[in-house]
């Protein structure tokens, strides 16, 4: 559970009497470069897209280097298929494709002589009741954090992913959860992130007047497994004893995921 990990991390933070961090140099062996596919289908117009790239070596830069010339098709369970058009290197979209709850979508990508397939079923839409800013106090350091509220439907497994934007910039943190312990309850979830003052690239903490946008995605079980395994073992800073690639729902040997989800957004101004 996230709380256990949070608690142990805090415990560590308190107990560290003279901890120090430094950047070190490691000799990492280069490896093969598998394809990375991010496939998204939502119930909102203009959001359907598939991003294709390859892994980069550790010393390379962090920019997105898309792979052109792939053949990308989406099919719904009625058998209708659509061929996505490349709009910019590695980005394949279709402006008309909209998904609907309960339908199963299939993705097929052919690139570099390889074929990858995946499928995802769009779950039912859980309404995002409200989003608000609340103040929290950790050791005298008051921070404003975004809270979201929703009513979890009882009697069915539900999985959620939230994305937070502060003044248009996406917060680099994964917010995923299930309803294992909150089935049927009115859930309040805090999308908590911390701003490391030493790091210029971190999104600064929320202050009065900031525009906060939150996306709520209702995802299926396989996609939840992808995000939760990514969070626990592939972010580079996990506490897991055995870092490993996330459990993908794409067959054929690619990294990444294919997610059909319902999308809702709310925008608020921080008080």
């Amino acid at each position: 559970m996230k709380y256990i990990q949070l608690g142990c991390l805090l415990f560590l933070a308190i107990s560290l009497l003279s901890a120090c961090q430094k950047v070190i140099h490691l000799d990492l062996k280069p490896s093969d470069q598998p394809y990375v596919i991010e496939g998204i289908v939502t119930d909102q117009p203009g959001t359907c897209r598939v991003l294709i790239s390859r892994t980069k070596q550790f010393a390379d830069d962090n920019s997105f280097q898309g792979v052109s010339g792939a053949e990308v098709t989406l099919a719904d369970d009625a058998g209708d298929t659509v061929r996505l058009v490349e709009r910019g290197a590695g980005v394949y979209t279709d402006s008309m494709f909209i998904g609907a709850t309960g339908h199963r979508y299939a993705l097929q990508v052919t690139v570099g002589g390889k074929r990858f397939t995946a499928s995802s079923t769009m779950p039912s839409k859980v309404t995002l009741d409200s989003a608000y800013i609340a103040e929290e106090d950790f050791f005298g350091d008051a921070t404003k954090q975004l809270n979201v509220m929703y009513q979890d439907p009882a009697g069915q497994p539900d999985y959620y992913k939230f994305v937070e934007f502060v003044n248009g910039v996406q917060v680099q943190q994964l917010f995923v959860g299930d309803d294992q312990l909150t089935d049927g309850k009115e859930v309040t979830s805090t999308l908590r992130y911390f701003d490391d003052k030493d790091n210029k690239n971190d999104v600064p903490k929320i202050k009065t007047g900031d525009t906060i946008k939150v996306n709520m995605e209702c995802i299926d079980a396989a996609v939840y497994k992808y995000w939760s395994s990514l969070e626990s073992s592939a972010t580079g800073s996990s506490q897991s004893a055995s870092p490993a690639n996330p459990v993908t729902n794409i067959a054929g040997g690619a990294l990444g995921y294919f997610s059909a989800y319902t999308l809702q957004q709310k925008v608020i101004i921080a008080p």
Binding site: S15, I24, T55, G236, A241
Partner: protein, 780 residues
């Protein structure tokens, strides 16, 4: 299975051989000298004291009892123990004698040199070679973190026993995982022997009499863990005089009270230790500080009664807890409670029995109260245990141990309770798990000839999984195919396992011997943990219909030599261990998941570990210490991990070196130092990276193919004996941990460079640089 048949034949053969030996030659009457060896000043029984007469010898057992049978005649009985002056007495043996021997503490001459005729407790003739014993004095002589001497930290300086690293609890013995060590405190198992993320163990070194460590080749009376046994015996309490001792250090304060209830017949001992740093937190006016809690405590209480010539009764209890609280938002506490009632009974001068009733409990509690998110998580393992063991000193050629053991385990793996009615968490109760572990064992230390000792034994265990509960059938991908419901008391499955133990020890000459041994160990309790730091919230899980008992077969060989008039000891041991049914986790496994079917997250495979250990020890003189070096490898092979190839276990460390030294300058000052070095853990580092949802994610190929940087540090310490009056003595202990401030890597993580978002950095976090400390101890 072929191994078992061959062994059974050998065992039967030895048994018949044993019968012929057991018959005494007719004509000469044999009589027995038996009794207890105690320390004169305190009345404490001495464990492992040597009792010798006319070439025959034995060693006192865990309760200080010995028995030696000789033909009628007159003998010089020699009794010795480490740290004590030896005792010689003329004994005329014309009938069986009961004698209790008291030994005096070794004295210091005017120059401060120790006078003791037993310079080493290692007699080459002792059949139990390769067993590491540490006394309280050995533990006191090693510098320690923050001035706290620690039994478990000290044994990690011996070869074959590796520390889990700074900030981590647990240790690894001969390549085994940290849950493969059976830690016993006066017979009671301790499930989590560490406080505060592994900086301190739960054992207050002041009250420890003795610790015996077996690295996998344990005798048949021990079982239940694959890699080692740490049998810790506490002092019983001075039955001659009252004493109060205590101390205060940088982190904690401790107090110990002991004394007779009836002088010479019964005594008690109470020791307590608590950290006090959190009391300063309470003084702060800032409510974001004074609401926090951070402390741990240990309390040991013991009583014992000598009920006459043949009986002795002991009660002991241990209570310990760690508490962490962050304001009112988050709380984590965990702790052990154990209680034992033991009864020693002498059936006759050759048959000693001990009956123990043991209760052991370990649990943890997590509470979260943040707005509407409030809930508690509770998890517990509880044992009820009865043990009956006999020491039968049949003759000077056969010393037999046999007994029965029965443990009933109740595990409450996880209970989630909402903190209040308005909480947005539901209650979730995992099913309790019940199991019943039974064992019967037999072992004989057979002096087959003047030079050859054979220890052979068999431990037979039956581990039964009981209802009430739901058990599952899974497919290869870990999905549940079928759920089986069992009622209360119904047997789900029983695993039967014979565990043979065999050792041959051959004395080459007066100062050297060799030993070859084989042991099979079976483990039915498994610690489920998937993080780099072993957390107090790791789960203990019993074997099920899917989780099979772990089995280890260990072969080892050793060479032992005493040098230069017994002032130096050299030990070289090599081992090969093969392990079955080892547990590892599926990729992306969520081990915190609250499900009855934990098996859906697990994968099973095999392991192998081998190595060679060197120990060179100086035991006498002003300067004492040891040098230890281990060269080893540990690997696992689990289908579903690392493309089904063998991979290094996390605790695989090629080289492990410890150098420890103590110098007694004079009556006032003594100095100590230790230097440790080991190859870093095997770790998985990324082979590449990519972007997902705008965030950098890392790509991994092989498991544990890289190494953390090597770990090394130097600690120094000094003890100043302050004025020693007749009834009062005190000392100051200074120490510095990590003197040259080496930044040993605790973790290495990967993140976008703080200066340049287009670059990825490897960031190393180190925990401790130099940490000095002072502590004051007193005794009166």
């Amino acid at each position: 299975m072929k191994m078992n048949k061959a062994y059974l034949l050998l065992f039967l053969g030895l048994l018949t051989g044993f019968h012929t030996y057991a018959q005494q030659p007719s004509g000469s009457a044999h009589y027995t000298i038996s009794g207890t060896v105690t320390a004169q000043k305190s009345g404490e029984t001495l464990i492992g004291a040597t009792v010798r007469a006319a070439g025959a010898g034995t060693v006192t057992n865990e309760y200080g009892f010995f028995s030696i049978t000789l033909p009628q005649g007159t003998y010089q009985l020699q009794v010795s123990a480490i740290g004590m002056q030896s005792h010689e007495e003329k004994v005329t043996l014309d009938r069986s004698i009961r004698m209790n021997v008291t030994l005096r503490d070794e004295t210091l001459s005017l120059e401060g040199v120790t006078i003791s005729s037993s310079r080493t407790d290692r007699s080459i003739t002792n059949p139990l070679m390769g067993v590491n014993k540490l006394s309280a004095a050995d533990i006191k002589n090693v510098p320690a973190l923050l001035g706290e001497r620690d039994v478990l930290k000290t044994i990690q300086l011996l070869p074959g026993i590796k520390s889990a690293g700074d900030g981590n609890s647990g240790f690894y013995v001969r390549g085994g995982a940290s849950d493969q060590n059976l830690i016993l405190l006066d017979d009671a198992p301790v499930y989590n022997a560490s406080h505060l993320l592994g900086f301190f163990s739960t054992f207050n070194a002041d009250a420890v009499k003795n610790i015996t460590v077996y690295k996998g080749d344990m005798p048949a009376q021990y079982g239940g863990r694959l890699s080692s046994v740490e049998d810790i015996r506490m002092n019983d309490g001075n039955n001659q005089q009252y004493h109060v001792s205590g101390g205060i250090g940088l982190i904690s304060a401790k107090l110990s009270v002991e004394g007779p209830i009836q002088q010479g017949k019964s005594s008690f001992l109470v020791t307590a230790r608590r950290t006090y740093a959190d009391l300063f937190l309470k003084l702060s006016p800032d409510s974001s500080i004074n609401n926090n809690k951070l402390y741990f405590y240990d309390l040991n209480a013991k009583m014992n009664y000598i009920l006459g010539d043949k009986d002795r009764l002991y009660f002991s209890g241990y209570f310990g807890r760690d508490v962490l609280g962050v304001q009112r938002t988050f709380g984590l506490d965990w702790g052990n409670e154990t209680g034992t009632l033991r009864w020693n009974h002498l059936y006759n001068d050759k048959l000693f029995s001990n009956t123990s009733l043991i209760f052991s409990n370990y649990n943890y509690n997590i509470s979260v109260a943040s707005g509407a998110n409030n809930f508690n998580i509770f998890s517990q393992i509880r044992d009820w245990h009865i043990k009956e063991e006999f020491d039968w000193y049949l003759s000077n050629r056969h010393q037999i141990r046999f007994g029965l053991n029965s443990i009933y385990h109740v595990m409450r793996p996880g209970e989630v309770k909402p903190g209040s009615a308005t909480s947005n968490f539901n209650a979730d109760l995992l099913e309790n798990r019940f199991s019943w572990e039974n064992a019967a064992y037999f072992s004989d230390v057979w002096k087959a000839s003047k030079r050859l000792n054979i220890t052979y034994g068999l431990r037979f265990t039956a581990f039964s999984i009981l209802g009430k509960g739901d058990f599952f059938h899974l497919d290869d991908a870990g999905n549940i195919l079928d759920t089986l419901h069992y009622n209360s008391g119904q047997f789900v499955k029983t695993y039967f396992n014979p565990e043979p133990r065999l050792a041959f020890s051959y004395q080459l000459n007066a100062t050297s011997s060799v030993k070859v041994s084989y042991a099979r160990n079976v483990q039915n309790l498994h610690l489920i943990s998937n993080s780099t730091a072993s957390n107090p919230t790791d789960k203990w899980v019993a074997s099920t219909n899917i989780i099979r008992p772990e089995i280890a077969d260990q072969f080892s060989a050793g060479y032992y030599k005493n040098l230069w008039d017994d002032t130096y000891e050299l030990t070289v041991e090599a081992y090969y261990k093969r392990m079955q049914n080892q547990i590892d986790y599926r990729n992306g496994a969520d081990v915190f998941i609250n499900t009855n079917a934990i098996e859906t997250e697990l994968l099973f495979g095999k392991g192998r570990a081998y190595g060679i250990e060197w120990l060179f020890k100086k035991t006498a003189g002003k300067f004492t210490g040891w040098l230890s070096y281990t060269l080893s490898k540990t690997q696992l092979q689990v289908n579903g991990i690392n493309q089904d190839q063998w991979y290094n276990a996390r605790q695989d460390r090629t080289h492990d070196i410890s150098i420890v030294g103590t110098y007694k300058l004079n009556k006032k000052w003594s100095f100590s130092a230790d230097w440790v070095f080991y190859t870093g853990d095997a770790v998985t580092f990324p082979s590449g990276k990519y972007l997902i949802d705008g965030q950098v994610v890392y790509y991994y190929t092989k498991r544990n193919d890289y190494r953390m940087p090597a770990y090394h540090r130097l600690d120094i310490g000094a003890t100043l004996q302050l004025r020693q009056k007749k009834k009062f003595s005190s000392d100051l202990v200074f120490s510095i941990y990590n003197v040259y401030g080496r930044e040993n890597a605790y973790t290495i993580t990967f993140e976008q460079s703080k200066d340049d978002p287009d670059r990825t950095d490897a960031v190393q976090t180190a925990l401790f640089k130099f940490i000095p400390s002072v502590s004051y101890d007193f005794k009166f």
